[in-house]
């Protein structure tokens, strides 16, 4: 049987061609350009790299970027779980429409989202107006940045939790109920543990996307150095000043943190698959 199988594998044509082309195209479009980032940084002097990394303005931009991305991802996990739950478990009018519109942030160009959110949350905007008398500014503050990142990250959480919730075995839930557990307890100790890997994956995906986001944020951020300046914007600024080494260094730090996130996501997915198999 195994012999037959290994013979069969070779039957299908096109292995050399498709693998060769895939690697060729991947190298030209993705790998070589990304390698330039590492080479460029390697060519820069340590002094210059240190000077860039330790610049208070750069540190402030990292803090704004990572903190806003973190807040947005936390909010997305909470509301993403609620949305996935409502869409999987309940029936209500307009449900299909809501399910379809969840993917809007994937389909809507980020610049359009950016100007729309700014119009809504500026001091004379439909929601900004409500908060202005209370002395709360939303647009051009970190709150505005966080709102833009919530918009961008929401579908990542909903779309990772939804399929898991759909597949969830309701017998365990029902067993808990017949044993006398009340709804909240069933949710907390039976359902939530099953959803935890998907929630972490959704969190990581939304967070990773938010760190690099540019288009939807620049309009609403106000871009004040030390306050509302995000790291991707600082890369742009350095480039415009022809400070290639500075731009590259900031970019490399962001890229490395994205790689760490990618590894974490892959590990989480691998672990949840592994658990499914061992069960």
């Amino acid at each position: 049987m195994t012999k037959l199988k290994s013979k069969r594998i070779k039957v299908l044509p096109g292995f050399g061609l498709t693998l060769g082309y895939s690697i060729f195209y991947l190298s030209i479009i993705v790998l070589i350009p990304l390698a330039s980032l590492f080479v460029e940084t390697a060519n820069a002097s340590w002094d210059k790299i240190w000077q860039t990394i330790s610049d208070p303005r750069v540190i402030a931009s990292y803090r704004v970027t990572f903190l806003s991305a973190f807040y947005a991802a936390v909010i997305n996990v909470i509301f993403g779980l609620l949305l996935a739950w409502v869409l999987v478990r309940y029936k209500f009018p307009g449900k299909k429409l809501i399910d379809g519109i969840i993917d809007l942030p994937f389909a809507l160009p980020t610049a359009v989202a950016g100007i729309a959110l700014t119009a809504i949350y500026a001091e004379n905007g439909i929601i900004g107006k409500l908060f202005a008398p209370l002395g709360i500014k939303i647009a051009y503050t970190q709150i505005g940045i966080t709102i833009a990142l919530i918009f961008i990250g929401l579908p990542f959480v909903v779309r990772t939790v939804q399929p898991v919730l759909q597949e969830l075995d309701r017998e365990i839930e029902e067993a808990a109920v017949t044993l006398g557990a009340y709804r909240w307890r069933t949710f907390r100790s039976v359902i939530l543990p099953e959803l935890t890997p998907a929630l972490w994956t959704g969190f990581a995906l939304a967070f990773a996307r938010a760190i690099g986001e540019y288009g939807s944020v620049v309009f609403i951020a106000g871009n004040m150095p030390f306050k509302t300046e995000i790291a991707p914007l600082l890369i742009m600024t350095k480039l415009e000043q022809f400070d290639y080494a500075g731009a590259t260094t900031i970019a490399l730090v962001m890229l490395l943190s994205s790689f760490v996130m990618l590894l974490v996501i892959n590990f989480l997915q691998w672990r949840s698959q592994h658990q499914a198999i061992s069960e």
């Binding site: 594998i9 299908l12 044509p13 096109g14 292995f15 061609l17 498709t18 693998l19 895939s22 195209y25 991947l26 479009i29 070589i32 350009p33 990304l34 330039s36 980032l37 460029e40 609620l82 949305l83 869409l87 999987v88 309940y90 809501i98 519109i101 993917d103 809007l104 994937f106 389909a107 809507l108 160009p109 980020t110 610049a111 359009v112 100007i115 729309a116 959110l117 119009a119 809504i120 929601i127 918009f151 929401l154 029902e174 109920v177 557990a181 009340y182 709804r183 690099g212 986001e213 540019y214 288009g215 309009f219 991707p232 890369i235 742009m236 480039l239 290639y244 970019a251 994205s258 990618l262």
Partner: protein
């Protein structure tokens, strides 16, 4: 489908099941209301705002913003970019999916991870790397200058950056689909003597066409809407190197809000078409899957 069976299940066994088997009615409606308010605030309000702000100063101004020469040339460049980037990534997506799902080889997981790489890179960095390669002070800068070629701050740079950003879309859609379908059908065709291209076109293609189409649609939506990466490599020259999203930015920064939102409404239309196409394709796939199960 899943919803209806669970509903029937609840109705059918309501007498035996304790009442706390599901949330009580007020709680259900509380969760639904919160969820709907959140979607309305975060997703629907921005959509409505774009249309409202675009039309606020009248239909005439709205139309004028759309047929203005700079807007037309931005539209043309945007379409040109998508017309090149999307087919390139489609060809790659099909080749990569074929190689990954039909064969066993070492380093497959590395290849899979590398395909996802552009998703993990900030759009600004996606543009930056091409400036490092082809900019005046980049690796190929002197060569390009000597030959009077320009890549960055011109259309080729915009095309390259867009291709980078949209690189994984088709492959990401096809790989899980073809993985699930296996390779028995192709192997049967091959053992009957069918040739490679024939196998792909007549056996594989009918099975993957809707998934492929969906990948192309997503890739296209992102290619047309990309902002950050394109912003880095575009020279921001009006009428020459501006794509639609960059044109919107310029109008907005010049306080021509109505015009900016008018052009933005075009991209909203594109997004809505993408979403409708997505749900139509998903419904077709579900129906096809149901038919297969019946057979």
């Amino acid at each position: 489908m899943a919803g209806s069976t669970t509903m029937n299940g609840i109705v059918g066994s309501s007498e035996v099941r304790p009442r706390h088997a599901t949330e009580s009615l007020p709680f259900r409606w509380l969760w639904i209301t919160i969820a709907l308010l959140f979607v309305g605030l975060i997703l629907i309000l921005p959509l409505v705002t774009v249309i409202y702000e675009g039309l606020k100063k009248g239909v005439e101004l709205y139309l004028a913003a759309l047929i203005e020469p700079d807007a037309i040339s931005a539209l043309k460049l945007t379409l040109l970019v998508a017309l090149i980037a999307v087919p390139l990534n489609t060809l790659f997506g099909v080749a990569a999916a074929w190689t990954i799902t039909k064969f066993q080889f070492r380093g497959k997981n590395i290849l899979l991870t590398l395909i996802d790489l552009p998703f993990a890179v900030s759009p600004v960095i996606s543009g930056l790397v091409y400036v490092l390669l082809f900019g005046a002070r980049g690796w190929f800068g002197p060569f390009l200058e000597a030959n009077h070629l320009q890549i960055v701050y011109a259309a080729p740079g915009i095309i390259l950056a867009t291709t980078f950003v949209t690189f994984p879309f088709v492959a990401r859609e096809l790989i899980p689909l073809m993985q699930a379908q296996g390779k028995q059908e192709e192997e049967a065709a091959a053992s009957l003597g069918a040739r490679g291209w024939h196998i792909f076109w007549h056996v594989t293609m009918p099975n993957i066409k809707w998934g492929l189409l969906y990948g192309i649609i997503l890739c296209n939506a992102r290619a047309i809407g990309e902002f950050g990466a394109v912003s880095v490599v575009s020279g921001h020259i009006r009428g020459e190197t501006n794509t639609l999203p960059l044109h919107i930015e310029i109008l907005y920064n010049e306080y021509q809000f109505s015009a900016a939102f008018a052009v933005a409404s075009l991209l909203v239309a594109l997004a809505l078409v993408t979403l409708v196409a997505k749900s139509l394709i998903e419904r077709r796939q579900q129906r096809a899957a149901a038919r297969n199960r019946m057979n």
